[in-house]
């Protein structure tokens, strides 16, 4: 990544808009600062508000490769950082034995089997050793155990990886790092301290409408406005799971496909299952929308 990819805040916003991601002021500022300060961004927020999408869009905007590490419980060094290719090493030793039995020194073998050829790079190491500009996305970081979280610290603060057999590998260029979290557990202070914090919430009416207009082909302005309004209305009801932006988009697309250009109660009630995923939520919303004035 060269010096200062972005000139100012406005160019970040414009750039994101050009790849169809509508950033609000907060999102644009944080992305801008992350690039300037060379710090990772920790993105939090409800599911489906575009956390992962943000990373993808930034990668698209900067013409960089996106390297993604999906976190899950039980993720370990071998899957996140690097792994020695045991099987290949084993084969190497055995084929050696066949050729010149016993003549080879252990030190030679060791040098031989612990080099790049036998190293399987995993996403984190790959992001650091990449020559081209990359965006690293560490998705759902709250799913890994606290112990594994510590593994990220070295990378996030110094952009380097220590491999005992090879030494420390420093990053050739500082990648832009996104960590996303659904907040199922408190992340450690150490991790939070190293990151810029960005909370993405459901967008407000105007932004949601614009997102719908941008992402859904062939939608009328009038319908987009109505979609955004109904969704806002539903979000105010206390539900198990409020409709997310992606569900709003799905709904809007469905309405366009069905050729509906005006949402009335019937349409809303019939298509609620696209917005809401729990039966109890759907029933509750049906009740609220038809009874309340």
């Amino acid at each position: 990544m060269g010096e200062n990819n972005f000139d100012d805040l406005a160019s970040v916003r414009a750039g994101l808009k050009s790849v169809n991601y509508l950033a609000d002021e907060g999102i644009a500022s944080v992305v801008f600062l992350a690039e300037r300060l060379g710090k990772p961004i920790l993105v939090e927020g409800p599911a489906g508000v575009g956390k992962t999408e943000l990373a993808k869009s930034v990668a698209a905007m900067m013409n960089s490769r996106l390297i993604r590490l999906q976190c899950y419980e039980g993720l370990d060094e071998a899957k996140a950082l690097y792994e020695w290719n045991y099987k290949k090493q084993l084969l190497r030793i055995q084929s050696d034995r066949g050729a010149n039995a016993g003549n080879e020194d252990w030190a030679d073998v060791q040098d031989d089997i612990f080099n790049d050829e036998f190293l399987l790079t995993r996403p984190l190491l790959e992001a650091i050793t990449a020559d081209d500009p990359v965006v690293l996305l560490i998705d759902e970081v709250d799913r890994v155990e606290i112990e594994t979280e510590a593994l990220l610290l070295e990378i996030l603060s110094d952009y380097q990886v220590s491999i005992p057999e090879l030494g420390t590998i420093k990053a050739k260029q500082i990648p832009l790092v996104f960590l996303t979290s659904n907040n199922t557990r408190e992340l450690s202070e150490a991790l939070k301290r190293r990151c810029l914090f960005l909370h993405i919430d459901y967008p407000d009416l105007d932004r949601e409408k614009e997102i719908v207009l941008n992402r859904v082909d062939g939608i009328e302005d009038n319908l987009a406005e109505q979609v955004a309004r109904v969704v806002r209305s539903i979000r105010q009801i206390e539900l198990k799971k409020s409709p997310s932006v992606s569900e709003t988009l799905d709904w809007a697309r469905t309405l366009v496909l069905l050729g509906i250009d005006n949402i009335d109660i019937e349409v809303a009630k019939e298509s609620l299952h696209i917005l809401l995923k729990y039966q109890s939520d759907i029933e509750k919303a049906r009740k609220e929308l038809s009874i309340e004035g």
């Binding site: 100012d8 805040l9 002021e25 907060g26 500022s29 944080v30 801008f32 600062l33 300037r36 300060l37 710090k39 920790l42 939090e44 927020g45 419980e73 045991y86 099987k87 084993l90 155990e145 907040n183 199922t184 557990r185 408190e186 202070e189 939070k192 301290r193 990151c195 810029l196 914090f197 960005l198 909370h199 009416l205 109505q226 309004r229 109904v230 806002r232 209305s233 105010q236 206390e238 198990k240 949402i263 009335d264 109660i265 809303a268 109890s280 509750k284 929308l289 038809s290 009874i291 309340e292 004035g293």
Partner: protein, 477 residues
């Protein structure tokens, strides 16, 4: 700038936000890259480096608004050559501001009716600039602010809002919207319209609040204002003295909290110890080492889940506490092999079914409040009688697997205590705890008989806010 920033960080810490030194340094770095005259960008730059928890955002915003209301961009404060803020020019500028506030927005020479009418127009059309101007005018006209008068901002806010009659305005707006459309509004449309207007009115309220705050800061200074505006974070709000607004914020905070707790408990169980050797998996794994079992595999241990019995006082003063605790316990249901709950005032009733039938926990709590048969004589707490009945009816169901939780302030209205019930329960159960929502210093004062009960339990815990409750549940499982 340096002084300004460190002052701001001190205010944040005073408000209870944990700000570390490195975060402070990051913030300093960050604002170098931000054009200082862009107030929003400046705010976001500070927030992203200093605030790492979404629930603290509101507190941050308040501190920010107060602290930078006089110094923020747009009110360019002159700095002299040493880079220090010139006291004289600041004062001069402030007095100008005070004068300006009176005159600007032409609030003085307008009658209340005119202001109300213009405000109504602005709301109807969603004209934000006009709304802001009218908010200023309304504050000038109605709040009756006097310099140096020691009343809080809420008083002025109340006075302003009372004069504006925003509820009436909402109705008027709805009527006009109804007249405008050709056909009658359907209920859905009506609901949407109402929300749109309500939204604008809420914006207006915020604008008015901000305006009052700006003036108060100008009058009294930043430090004094920061103190009066300080609000506890949601996890520190006292259950027994929470306002309606605070209750709502607790309710909101409890959902993510339970999710976190459940995840943590599940994880803790899994990782506490290893189960017996898993022979199959070990052999399978050994294949990649040429048959050498280099990496033994173990089974996951069978979790040992306690059975939980909750006995909660739901009389007036402690109802909120009981509600939140039940809420929390049921959200964690699958962490226990079984949860049974009983509620009492002076009679006692089992409410387990209500939580099992209802998918929505709020409905369940509502049903508990309306359907549970908890009044025996007069509806004043009688722990003694309730416990007596509890023992008689359900005592035999307590086993060595049960953990029993009593919730209540143990204010017994001078009835007999029947403390032997707690004693017998503690004998049979695996463990017995008492959670008391009162501050420790009030225990055993007046009609509180907590220590008569507590001597028999394995522990009494003060549970006045979410943070303490979370701590206890963590300890329990």
């Amino acid at each position: 700038m340096l002084d300004l920033m460190s002052g701001f960080v001190v205010e944040l810490r005073n408000a209870g936000l944990p700000v570390s030194l490195t975060e402070n340094l990051d913030a300093m770095q960050a604002i170098k890259h931000i054009p200082i005259e862009d107030r929003d960008a400046f705010k976001y730059a500070l927030a992203t480096t200093l605030v790492k928890n979404e629930q603290h955002w509101k507190a941050f915003e308040t501190v920010f608004e107060v602290y930078f209301s006089m110094r923020g961009p747009g009110y360019s404060v002159t700095e002299n050559e040493d880079g220090e803020i010139d006291e004289d020019s600041l004062e001069e500028w402030m007095s100008q501001q005070m004068k300006g506030m009176g005159g600007r927005g032409s609030g003085e020479d307008m009658s209340p009716e005119e202001i109300a009418e213009m405000l109504y127009r602005a709301l109807m059309n969603g004209d934000e600039a006009m709304m802001a101007a009218m908010a200023r005018a309304a504050v000038t006209q109605f709040a009756g602010m006097e310099p140096g008068r020691p009343v809080g901002g809420t008083y002025y806010l109340y006075r302003t809002l009372r004069n504006l009659d925003l509820d009436g305005m909402l109705e008027r707006m709805m009527e006009e919207a109804g007249e405008k459309s050709e056909s009658d509004l359907t209920t859905l449309q009506e609901r949407l319209e109402r929300e749109e207007f309500q939204n604008r009115i809420d914006d207006l309220k915020k604008e008015i609040e901000a305006e009052i705050r700006r003036r108060l800061v100008a009058d009294r200074g930043v430090e004094a204002m920061a103190k009066t505006l300080k609000k506890p974070l949601p996890e520190d709000v006292d259950f027994m003295h929470a306002s309606r607004e605070e209750m709502a914020s607790i309710r909101k905070a409890i959902q993510p909290l339970t999710r976190k707790l459940a995840a943590r408990l599940a994880r803790k169980r899994k990782h506490k110890r290893r189960g017996p050797l898993d022979f199959r998996a070990t052999v399978r794994q050994s294949l990649s080492y040429g048959g050498v079992p280099a990496e033994p595999r173990f089974r996951n241990p069978r979790p040992n889940k306690p059975e939980l019995i909750v006995v909660a006082d739901i009389s007036g003063s402690v109802a909120a506490f009981a509600r939140f605790t039940l809420h929390l316990v049921y959200a964690l249901q699958n962490q226990f092999s079984k949860v049974r709950s009983f509620v009492f005032i002076d009679g006692i009733d089992e409410v387990t079914r209500m939580f099992q039938d209802e998918e929505d926990i709020n409905n369940a709590v509502h049903r508990v409040n309306t359907e549970a048969d908890v009044v025996w004589v007069d509806g004043h707490s009688d722990y003694g009688h309730a416990f007596g009945v509890f023992w008689e009816k359900f005592g035999h169901e307590i086993s060595s697997k049960s953990t029993v939780m009593f919730l209540g302030d143990a204010r017994n209205n001078y009835h007999a205590t029947n403390a032997w019930v707690v004693k017998e329960t503690a004998k049979k159960a695996r463990s017995t705890f008492w959670l008391n929502p009162e501050p420790k210093s009030y225990w055993d004062t007046g009609d509180s008989v907590i220590s008569e009960y507590s001597t028999h339990t394995d522990g009494v815990f003060e549970c006045r806010n979410l943070r303490q409750l979370e701590g206890f549940v963590d300890h329990l499982a």
